[in-house]
Symmetry: C2
Subunit: 271 residues, 2 copies
């Protein structure tokens, strides 16, 4: 399906866009099912939080309207929204007149091997660390060079994702996923107040786990805690849940809580 | 003058460009004088270092040729080059086929008040801190949200620049300038191995100072050292040198080494 720029079909944008110049913007990647963006409200909530923290004056109703119209036309697939501060002149100071730009791109659902869901994935130990920047932590902003560098660390098909630590060696997330551990029946995921992207599927699964009366911990996670986990899995809003089968010298079988939450994610995402 | 995209007149680029999606690219801002980019070799050297560290396979001779041709046509002004990894599909992994994109934009020289050069500037104390990311430190890459946030901290005309510290409180640089201190006849500028942009005018002035037999220190700088400086000045490759006249409760008069280096920078930049 053709992409849209500012509500109109188009596949180009001005070279003066601050999204290009400075990564001055945000993005969201939606699964689209039956013409509807999945987990729409959670995505919009994170986007609104990003706009608030970056001071981007986007019209939330306009963004919602365009998203819904595009998703309806797309039917099934993946919808990526890029929202930038709009055009700028020279210099970091933003013009008060800048009109936030909306870019919508649709694509087919990615086709990952079935084994990723069933037997789990191999997780690559990335050496690229996440810098600690509380002002940007949690947001899905356009400054993603750390992820680009991390993803360039492996090319083999053995690894479907990579594990990223922060500069203090804490276990944070995957390159394009959030991470969960299960230890003695409790669920653990990293505190994302210093770095990382607060994924909407992560938020959804935290809520689902609470509803299942599973104790949930959002905390700093050491590599040692990670190594001692009973179950490890990744999630994002497009593929749902991938069990982690192997990491360096470690291996896990797919555990019961992983399967349970995977089923819940699948029900949300599958057509 | 019209901008160029990939060597052709144009003012738009594909929404699939990874510079937009991830800030996956670099930029350089040249002063152009008599149809020539000033400090060309230093700029190209930093750009090459950025390409090497980010793994962007740009053709250095092509970039140089386009820069020289554009500068010759521009005559006088500011030339901004944006070099991105080129178009991508979905996901952080770069395609080996991606063709690095070159964007050239010319603009008139900015007109700053004469007082900035003569009496110096007021420096705003930014609260936005620079995160420590050695993998990106020194590069002029397109992930610049920290600078966007810092520049949004002040709107008044009293402050021409802002001072940025790192997350450990070390004094690093201005939002769009490098910083120098003079203390007891020695020159100090921040070590940029954890964060900051290694400016070409900074490199030039370090060399000029050595040629003048001024002792030069590239080291961590505390706020206390900054407060005790005899002279403080900023530099970049467009305006040259601005003495710092005031910062919070502190004030300085323009010192002799600042004036000396300012004259050298002016000779390089002025028509």
């Amino acid at each position: 399906m053709d992409s849209w720029v500012d509500g109109q079909p188009g596949d180009s944008l001005s070279i003066r866009d601050r999204g290009l110049a400075y990564g001055d913007g945000l993005f969201e990647t939606f699964a689209v099912k039956g013409g509807q963006p999945v987990l729409l409200e959670r995505h919009l909530q994170r986007l609104a939080e990003g706009c608030r923290r970056l001071g981007i004056a986007a019209d939330p109703e306009l963004v919602r309207r365009e998203l819904l119209a595009y998703a309806a036309a797309l039917g099934e697939g993946v919808l990526k929204l890029i929202l930038t501060r709009g055009d700028g002149l020279r210099g970091y100071a933003a013009s008060a007149q800048a009109l936030p730009r909306r870019i919508l791109q649709g694509s087919p659902l990615p086709t990952y091997p079935q084994a990723y869901q069933q037997q789990g994935i191999g997780l690559f130990p990335c050496t690229t660390r996440l810098a600690e920047q509380p002002l940007l932590a949690g947001l899905k902003h356009l400054n993603r060079l750390e992820q680009v560098l991390a993803r360039a660390e492996w090319q083999d098909a053995e690894h479907a994702e990579g594990l990223m630590l922060d500069t203090h060696g804490r276990v944070i997330e995957g390159v394009f996923s959030n991470l969960f551990l299960v230890h003695r029946g409790e669920l653990f995921t990293a505190d994302l107040s210093r770095c990382g992207v607060a994924g909407v599927m992560r938020a959804q699964l935290l809520e689902e786990a609470k509803a299942l009366a599973v104790p949930v911990n959002i905390s700093d996670i050491s590599l040692e805690q990670f190594r001692q986990a009973d179950e490890v899995f990744l999630c994002n809003s497009v593929y749902g849940v991938w069990p982690v089968r192997a990491f360096a010298d470690l291996s896990w079988s797919v555990g019961p809580l992983t399967r349970k939450l995977q089923g819940i994610a699948r029900a949300l995402l599958e057509v």
